[in-house]
Subunit: 184 residues, 2 copies
DNA sequence: GTTCCCATGTAACCCGTTACATGATTTT
DNA sequence: AAAATCATGTAACGGGTTACATGGGAAC
């Protein structure tokens, strides 16, 4: 059907389905809180996708006047949009999980560093992982209280992040232990 | 000093340091086998970075004539290049680990799918993870035999991938177990 | 009265990708 | 004769980013 669009387009489409009658501004905030962990998008990009989606008539925009705040556009799926989302979800998933890690890239060349510098690299990484870990725990706790299918899906994707962070924290410990052995 | 360059530039710089006197063609192959797992780069991009690095005079190119194959350029670091690499490694690492997962994005909207479709999504993900797992095991085995600092760094980054894949396979099992509970 | 929140947008850049071109040599 | 390997490149596209602009109402 439609020329094949980037997954980001469907991410926004799915978000509008999940949070109907939201403004672009609100969607940016929701995206930042929800799928940003495994599919980050900037504000500019999200607005661009809203344009694209309305152009495709997959979503319809409604003008809402407000007196306590600027007027806004709210969005909701059309029938065609619902179909497009369903088609995309049903299509076989290309295994496109792109991962780029500045920490690992540096660690890969770590043999050019002093052991102290390596240790500090690992320490920074640990802090970042711990912060992530806490975020995921918070999300899981919050969503555990909600008994909707959407909340469950959100909780389980957060669990994926949690398990990943745990494993990587374990890796940091493993590596630090190995470095200590060498110093002796 | 130099306007701040993308990490990819330093990735190539580090690779030339690690594998001196290699051609662009060889570097593409090595990059594909080594840091592609956490820092993928395409052939075109790598060649473009070689141009940039020679322009910066961080690497120098030498023409090598061959009779059994086309002539080639080989690369090696200059003093300035070595300094640039060291500076980059020593600089505080921005926590830029960008992760985009098509599987998680779909899973996030999984409440719109039939349970069977979710199961197949998870099954595909498991296969991909298992393939990754095997790759990392192979790398670790291969590098365990080599007793250089560079090999050790490579082995430990591969271990990071291995631990991550293990944790995610565990997540798949966890989620599948939860889905079964619901069916009852 | 400055700062934060709501709300939407423009401009410019460039990184990274895919597809394709070329051509010699070696292997099947 | 065809296919794979070695080797380097061009062309075009677009997704995603950062930085900036605007402006009214609310909060401190």
């Amino acid at each position: 059907m439609a020329a094949d669009l980037p997954d980001t387009t469907y991410a926004v489409l799915g978000l509008i389905d999940k949070v109907p009658r939201a403004s672009g501004y609100e969607l940016v905030a929701v995206a930042g809180r929800s799928f940003a962990h495994f599919w980050p998008i900037s504000q500019t990009l999200l607005y661009r996708e809203l344009d694209r989606l309305t152009g495709l008539e997959w979503v319809a925009a409604t003008r809402v006047e407000q007196q306590h705040a600027p007027s806004k556009w709210t969005y909701h799926l059309t029938a065609a949009g619902g179909q497009a989302l369903a088609d995309w979800l049903a299509a076989p998933t290309p295994a496109t999980s792109s991962f780029r890690s500045g920490v690992l890239l540096r660690f890969f060349f770590a043999y050019r560093l002093h052991p102290d510098q390596v240790r500090s690299l690992l320490a920074d990484y640990r802090s970042a992982l711990q912060a992530q870990h806490e975020e995921f725990v918070a999300i899981i706790d919050k969503l555990a209280a909600v008994a909707t299918p959407a909340a469950r899906a959100g909780r389980l994707t957060a669990l994926h992040g949690l398990r990943t962070a745990e494993a990587r924290l374990g890796w940091v410990e493993e590596v630090e232990a190995q470095l200590e052995d060498d110093s002796c």
